[in-house]
Structures are given as structure tokens and as C-alpha cells.
């Protein structure tokens, strides 16, 4: 395998404590090595450019049935943006729900080496893995959803943590999943009854359990198993004005829990797309709606066992898709556009609705402000991560623009000055008071070091330390630049990107489809006759498929698996 030596770049690595020093970075046999360890390296001159480890995305919707529903029912999403294949690149198309190949190229151009598909319905795991397989370059994993699963609800109702854990371990193995996703706990099951859970103490119909019990139960099961990642929650009441109280209550559920994981994470709860959960007021009007980002961020700043990602609204035309079925119905009644809704048998549900975040409305710009404020209030960038909940708050390829907004007050003010209700947003949100600008060092934590650590992959990704995966990106950005537009350009147009020791982008051109891997967690637990019996019984009674048609065969579906083994036998 080729050796690479990247010279003269400004290096940012929060794990090694390198903050913009000129540093030589070397890769050999697919891993990072000390610069002295390479002999015949191809030298890349990164003079005047920024060098970081490959990015790690903790939460995006990039593969699975929701994506395909979005693709199928939004042919107009591909209108006028299809590009024919060229060289090693497959043809691509799509704006908010692009083709799988485009996802791979977008991530490469942004210098990302690992991404987490944030919600995989276990029943459709096979399809999810087929899409992951067809997404080139980037290493991926998927989080199966558990928060409305009948097995989980029944076990947790009686606080049977060991059974819950055994079932989760079985699902992770059957679906080749990575960890525990928890979407609108209880609320999505309630949606099957035409209802929702509007607080963490609402009863889930029939199951007689509350969202709070589901959240704490899944935290306990997660720590019982000692999984690499923590319980990953999208709380109740997403998008509702006044929901910050529910959010604070949900976050408070993590109190007293300590991580039990050999993978180096500190958190027991990851709160995703916090922007959608930090609203005050009781309506979307500028008279009532207000940002509660400060209140929520202040709480998280004081906790050491919670991480979060942002979900910044990018003010684009996009497609929302979530396992939060009732929310999508609510959204479709607001914007009167098309709506797709699915019930996934015993497991979950999903909805898809196109959405336009319009610059000329108050609420879209206020949502934009809330997302950025959370990052600007967060004290520790190792706990606060950049996402757009792609494509929910904005298309995936908008990350560079979000980076621009985070790094430049001038760029934020341009949006506010340009927006019709910019002054009202300054009035109802905190954005106008915040002059903080995220540094490249902090950005490296928010986009790779912190996310890798929170996913339990800190021993592979997020740093340039010798022994880590050979994922390095060179952005054509000089830290001395004063033009915010340079930031947006550079972070979307990596000059060089080396992934697993292989040159993916050379001088701005994608030259290889890489050696894409699918990560999954193989968790060993004690034999559990009860859970085995329940699984067989439920499949016989309720599922439309048999057990043999459920399992995701590693050989068939994961051409290049990376198995992470966890031993939870006690």
C-alpha cells in the first residue's frame, strides 16, 4: 500500500492537542504513523491549507427505506441536477434525497470517513444494508430503532433490563446494527393508535409504560451490554413550540447513570438534533415563539454524561423523514404537501414530507438561529456535534455552509440582515447577542474527534495519532483567510482525501471508490431462553416474515464488514 506524507499544512487535532501548527502527517499500510516511519512516501504539499483527520458524522439519514420513499415520491428532487458518470464516478442526481452514489461523493468532498445512518427499522435492515453497500467510499453503520418496539416495551414495562439487553443484542446481530436509537419514545407506537405522547410521563396506549421509563430502560440496557455508542435519543415533542421543557426532563433522566464501555465514551445519552427540541413559546408566530437554546445548552454544559448534535436548519428546500410518524403527519397538515406514512409492524413507523425552510418566514430563520446558538453556547466542543439531521433540517451537502455560519459572525449577520424577519429573530432568539466564532480546533472536535469518541470509535477515527485509521483530509483553506465564503468552499471541496490509506481525492478530483466498510456490533450475551422463546413466538404470531427472512446475512449483505465485538456475558 502506498505511503503518504502530507507536509507543511496547518494541522488541527484536538486529541493530540495540535492547534494549527505546521506538522507533517504520515500514512503507511492504511494507518497513521509517525512522519519518521515512512521512507518512500508520496509527498503531498499542503502549504497554506488545513489538515484534519477524516470527518465522522454521528447522525444523518443516508440509507434505508425512508430514503427510498423520499426518492420515489419526489421525482422533482432530481429535476435539472442529474450528472452523467465520468471516470470512476457513477452518474448522480438528487438534491435532498440523492442517489446512494452521490451520498458517497458528497461525504468524500467534505472529507468525511465515517457516517452513522441514524434510524434503521430492523424489519428493513436488509434494504438499508443494500443501500449502504451501494454508497461508495465512506465507512458506515446503522442504528436500529428500539423506542417503540413491542419486545422492548413489554420487557421495560416490568423493568426487565437483562431481557431487553438480550433482545437488543439479538437485533444488533440479526440486523447488523451498531447501537440503540430511540425515536419519539412511546409516541410512535401511540401513533399506531392515532395518538402521540406529549410528555415523558404520558402513558403509551395498551403497553402501560411511559417515555421516561423507555429512555431510562434503554440507557440501562445499553450500559448493561457496554456498547460502543450510548443510547441515541430523539425525544418526544420534536418541533413543538415549548418543547424545551420536555427536552430538559428527558435529559435529566440520564442523571446518575455512568457509562460502562471499553470504547472510551463518556456519555450515557446522546441527544440528537437538539435544535428541534429547544423551542419556547406556544406557537410558531413571532409573538410567541422563542429560542430556549441557552437554557438547554446551559443544562448540558453542567453534565458530563450527555452529548448532543445540532440539526442546524440550512434554509433550503429539503425532505423530512423520521420514525416520528405523528410529527410527519402534523407537518403535512402545516405545509399541505405530499405525505408518506408507514407502519413497521411490531417495531416502529415512519413518515416523509417535503419541506421548505423559507428565508422570508420568521419561523425558518428562528429555527436556523436556534441550531447555531446551541453550538455557540456549548462550552465543550467534544460534546456538541455538527449535523443538519440530513436531510431533515437541511441537505447533507450543506455542512460546509453550516461551518461557515459557526465560524463567522459576519456570515450569520448577512443571513439575518437579508431575512425579512431578521430583526424579529434577533429579538426572539439569542443569535444577535452571540459574537463567538468557532475555531478550526473546536470544529475538528465537533466534526471528528468528539463524534468518534461519542460513537466509541475514538480508537480508530477522529485523530491523526499513530495507529489510527489512515483517514486524512486536506482542505484548501488558509486559517489566515478573512473571507467567510472561503470556509464554505473549502469544507465542501477537499483538495486531498486519503481514506484507509488510499487516495480518494487527488487535487480536488475523486480518483477512487475506496474500500468501503460496514461497521456492526456483535454483542455476546448469556443464553436467554425467555427472549429466544418470545422472539419465536412473536414471529409466528405477528410478523409478516419468518425469522429466516429477517436475518441480514453478513456474507450476502455486507461485502466488507467490520465487526466490533462486545462481551456482555457475566
Amino acid at each position: 500500500m502506498a505511503e503518504y506524507l502530507i507536509k507543511n499544512g496547518y494541522v488541527y487535532d484536538p486529541i493530540l492537542g495540535i492547534n494549527g501548527d505546521k506538522h507533517d502527517v504520515a500514512i503507511k499500510d492504511g494507518k497513521m504513523v509517525d512522519a519518521s516511519a515512512v521512507k518512500n512516501a508520496k509527498v503531498i504539499d499542503a502549504n497554506g491549507m488545513t489538515v484534519m483527520a477524516g470527518g465522522v458524522d454521528i447522525h444523518a439519514h443516508i440509507a434505508g427505506p425512508k430514503l427510498n420513499i423520499g426518492r420515489n415520491f419526489r421525482p422533482e428532487d432530481k429535476l435539472f441536477n442529474a450528472k452523467p458518470g465520468q471516470g470512476i464516478k457513477h452518474m448522480v442526481a438528487g438534491h435532498s434525497v440523492p442517489t446512494t452514489f452521490k451520498f458517497g461523493y458528497i461525504y468524500a468532498n467534505m472529507g468525511y470517513g465515517f457516517a452513522m445512518e441514524a434510524a434503521m427499522p430492523p424489519l428493513y435492515a436488509r434494504h438499508t444494508h443494500e443501500e449502504i453497500r451501494d454508497t461508495p467510499i465512506i465507512d458506515e453503520a446503522a442504528l436500529p430503532v428500539f423506542g417503540n418496539n413491542w419486545f422492548v416495551l413489554e420487557y421495560l414495562k416490568n423493568h426487565e433490563i437483562e431481557n431487553t439487553a438480550a433482545y437488543i443484542a439479538w437485533i444488533l446481530r440479526a440486523t447488523k446494527g451498531f447501537g440503540i436509537k430511540n425515536v419519539n419514545p412511546g409516541g410512535t407506537e401511540a401513533w399506531a393508535w392515532g395518538m402521540n405522547c406529549s410528555s415523558i410521563h404520558d402513558n403509551v396506549p395498551y403497553f402501560d409504560i411511559t417515555p421516561a421509563e423507555i429512555v431510562t430502560g434503554l440507557i440501562e440496557a445499553n450500559e448493561y451490554l457496554g456498547l460502543p455508542h450510548s443510547m441515541h435519543v430523539h425525544g418526544n415533542q420534536l418541533g413543538e413550540p415549548g418543547n424545551y421543557k420536555t427536552t430538559l426532563e428527558t435529559l435529566a433522566l440520564a442523571k446518575g447513570y455512568k457509562p460502562n464501555s471499553k470504547f472510551g465514551r463518556d456519555q450515557v445519552l446522546h441527544q440528537t438534533h437538539l435544535q428541534f427540541h429547544s423551542y419556547g413559546g406556544d406557537s410558531y408566530s413571532s409573538k410567541s415563539f422563542e429560542s430556549k437554546s441557552k437554557e438547554v445548552a446551559d443544562y448540558i454544559n453542567k453534565q458530563d454524561n450527555i452529548t448532543f448534535d445540532l440539526g442546524v436548519v440550512t434554509l433550503d428546500d429539503t425532505t423530512t423523514m423520521t420514525a416520528d410518524g405523528p410529527f410527519e403527519q402534523h407537518l403535512s397538515h402545516m405545509n399541505h404537501l405530499k405525505w408518506a406514512n408507514t407502519d413497521v409492524e411490531l417495531e416502529t413507523a415512519a413518515g416523509v414530507v417535503p419541506f421548505q425552510y423559507r428565508k422570508n418566514t420568521f419561523i425558518a430563520v428562528a429555527q436556523w438561529a436556534v441550531g447555531l446558538e446551541l453550538a455557540l453556547y456549548a462550552k465543550d466542543p467534544m460534546k456538541c456535534f455538527l449535523t443538519t439531521d440530513a436531510p431533515n433540517a437541511g441537505p447533507l451537502w450543506r455542512y460546509p455552509r453550516v461551518i461557515k455560519w459557526l465560524m463567522s459572525e459576519q456570515a450569520r449577520n448577512e443571513v439575518l440582515d437579508d431575512a425579512k424577519y431578521g430583526e424579529k429573530v434577533r429579538d426572539r432568539c439569542y443569535i444577535g447577542e452571540l459574537d463567538r466564532e468557532i475555531s478550526l480546533y473546536e470544529l475538528a472536535a465537533m466534526t471528528r474527534a468528539g463524534t468518534a469518541k461519542a460513537l466509541g470509535l475514538g480508537n480508530m477515527f477522529g485523530s491523526l495519532r499513530p495507529g489510527m485509521e489512515g483517514d486524512v483530509v486536506v482542505y484548501p483553506y488558509s486559517p489566515e483567510s478573512e473571507n467567510p465564503e472561503d470556509i464554505e468552499y473549502a469544507f465542501g471541496n477537499a483538495k486531498y482525501f486519503i481514506k484507509g490509506g488510499e487516495m480518494i481525492i487527488n487535487d480536488g478530483e475523486i480518483v477512487s471508490n475506496g474500500n468501503k466498510r460496514t461497521f456492526w456490533v456483535d454483542c455476546k450475551v448469556n443464553e436467554n431462553a425467555q427472549v429466544q422463546h418470545d422472539i419465536e413466538e412473536k414471529f409466528k404470531r405477528y410478523y409478516t416474515v419468518g425469522l429466516n427472512n429477517y436475518d441480514v446475512n453478513e456474507k450476502t449483505f455486507l461485502p466488507n464488514p467490520h465487526r466490533i465485538e462486545v462481551d456482555a456475558t457475566q
Binding site: F73, R74, P75, E76, D77, L79, H336, L337, K338, P354
Partner: protein, 266 residues
């Protein structure tokens, strides 16, 4: 105004996609440069000059450029697509997507056109001296942003699904139309001087539809309100006004509830 004349030299084996035939693409170009523009067939790319003789040259701007297409283009799609100014005259029947996504200027087809003429149009004038196919002035598949401005005038009949998701502008059909007129209409005006079949104004929220002839089957979601004496496209007469579609939402603004309006001539 400078005129460029295109004369087809051969009939394409499949269908030719010629979205470069617009005053915008021709502006500032000589005949040779115009002949060097791309056209597409299947997965292959050809030159405009492979299929057309090009005479004359374009003006510096689209406004001052006129394109005349002489000869059979019944297997050519996308002429005048996204044109913003100037004039296009097609002297024969043409295929799909004539004047689609037009922004401005004038386009005239002296012959029948196939489906999707004036699709997603936002401005300008599209005149079809012949019959139009389905999806005249409709929205692109899946899109909810249909025709938003401009005028489409068809002297003959039109097919089904005209004005789907229409939000503005005017469609005038001199003859009869097939099923589904103004489905999901949220603005604009559709005038049918002949007869309509069924499902006129289904899921309509706003805008107007005028039918001079008969409607074979009225949508159950429309309620008759009153008789009105009005002038429509230069013809005055007495019309029965219906409002609907009652199965849809009815936005209320400043105390006034909006309905789609359907006028039937007595």
C-alpha cells in the same frame, strides 16, 4: 430583431432532445456556433448541425433573437425550454415539452404538440395553433409548483391533466379537454371554450376555471352559489358559479374564506 432559421435535415431515429433551441442559448452566436450546440438522443450526444441546417445569426441578446423552425419536428422535444425572452416559431407539429419552464418571450407552434407543453411555466406567451396533449401547463411529476405565470393559448383541443397544481397564469383552450382539469389548482385561470369531461377542479383550493360548454360529470365537491354576468377572454355571457373543492382545506385570510371557483356558461 435577428432571425435564425432551422430546417430539419433528417428525421431522428429515436426522439431528439433539443433544449438548446432557445433565444437564450442562441444569443450572440453565429450559424456555425449554433450548429455546434448539443442535442441529445437516447444516451448519445450530437450536434444541432447534425439534424438541422442553420441559417442566419442570432442577435447579441435573447430579446432581439427570433428562431424559426421550418419542417417536421414531430420527433423533437424541449424546444423553447426555459426561454426567458425573444421569439420562437415552430412551423410544424412538435413533440413533448414545448416551452416547458418558459420564463418569458413568445413561442408559437403552428401544429399539434404532444404532452407537457408549457410545463411549470412562469412567464411569457405560448401559442399553439393546433391541439395540445396531456399535462398542458401542469407541474413536473411530483412537483407541487405548477404553472405560475404567463399565458398558454391552444386553438384546438387539449388532453387530460391540464393545469395540474397551477398557481398562476392563464390557460385558454379553444376546443374540448379530457379529464382532470386544474387538479390541486391553487391560483391562475383555466378557460375551456369547448366541453370538459369529468373531474374538473378536483382538490382545487384557489383560482378559476371557466367552461363554456358542458361538463360531463361535475365533481361532488363543488357547490352552486349564484349566476354571474361576466366577460371572459373577450366574450361576455351568463355563468353559473360553483365553489369547491369542499373536500379540501379552505384558507381564511382577513375573514374571507377562499374557494376554487368554477364557472359554467349557460
Amino acid at each position: 430583431m435577428s432571425t435564425v432559421t432551422l430546417t430539419p435535415t433528417q428525421v431522428p431515429e429515436l426522439y431528439l432532445e433539443a433544449d438548446n433551441i432557445t433565444p437564450d442559448h442562441f444569443a450572440g452566436k453565429s450559424a456555425e456556433e449554433i450548429a455546434a450546440l448539443n442535442v441529445y438522443m437516447g444516451n448519445a450526444t450530437y450536434k444541432l448541425g447534425d439534424y438541422f441546417d442553420v441559417e442566419g445569426e442570432a442577435a447579441e441578446t435573447a430579446e432581439e433573437t427570433k428562431i424559426v423552425v421550418k419542417g417536421d419536428v414531430s420527433r423533437v422535444k424541449y424546444i423553447g425550454m426555459k426561454m426567458s425572452a425573444g421569439e420562437v416559431i415552430v412551423e410544424s407539429p412538435a413533440d413533448m415539452y414545448m416551452g416547458a419552464w418558459m420564463l418569458g418571450g413568445k413561442m408559437t407552434v403552428n401544429g399539434d404538440v404532444d404532452a407537457f407543453a408549457g410545463l411549470g411555466m412562469t412567464g411569457g406567451e405560448l401559442t399553439i395553433n393546433g391541439n395540445a396533449g396531456d399535462y398542458l401547463g401542469a407541474a413536473y411529476r411530483g412537483d407541487w409548483r405548477g404553472m405560475q405565470g404567463g399565458t398558454i393559448r391552444v386553438s384546438g383541443d387539449a388532453g387530460s391533466d391540464i393545469g395540474t397544481f397551477m398557481r398562476g397564469g392563464t390557460i385558454i383552450v379553444g376546443g374540448n379537454v379530457d379529464v382532470h382539469v386544474g387538479t390541486h389548482q391553487e391560483g391562475g385561470t383555466i378557460i375551456v371554450k369547448g366541453d370538459a369531461k369529468t373531474r374538473v377542479g378536483g382538490q382545487m383550493v384557489k383560482g378559476e376555471i371557466y367552461v363554456f360548454g358542458d361538463i360531463e360529470v361535475m365533481m361532488p365537491g363543488f357547490q352552486q352559489r349564484e349566476d354571474v354576468e361576466i366577460e371572459v377572454d373577450g366574450e361576455s355571457g351568463s355563468f353559473a358559479l360553483f365553489e369547491g373543492d369542499m373536500g379540501e382545506r379552505h384558507p381564511t385570510r382577513k375573514g374571507v374564506t377562499t374557494f376554487g371557483k368554477l364557472y359554467m356558461k349557460y
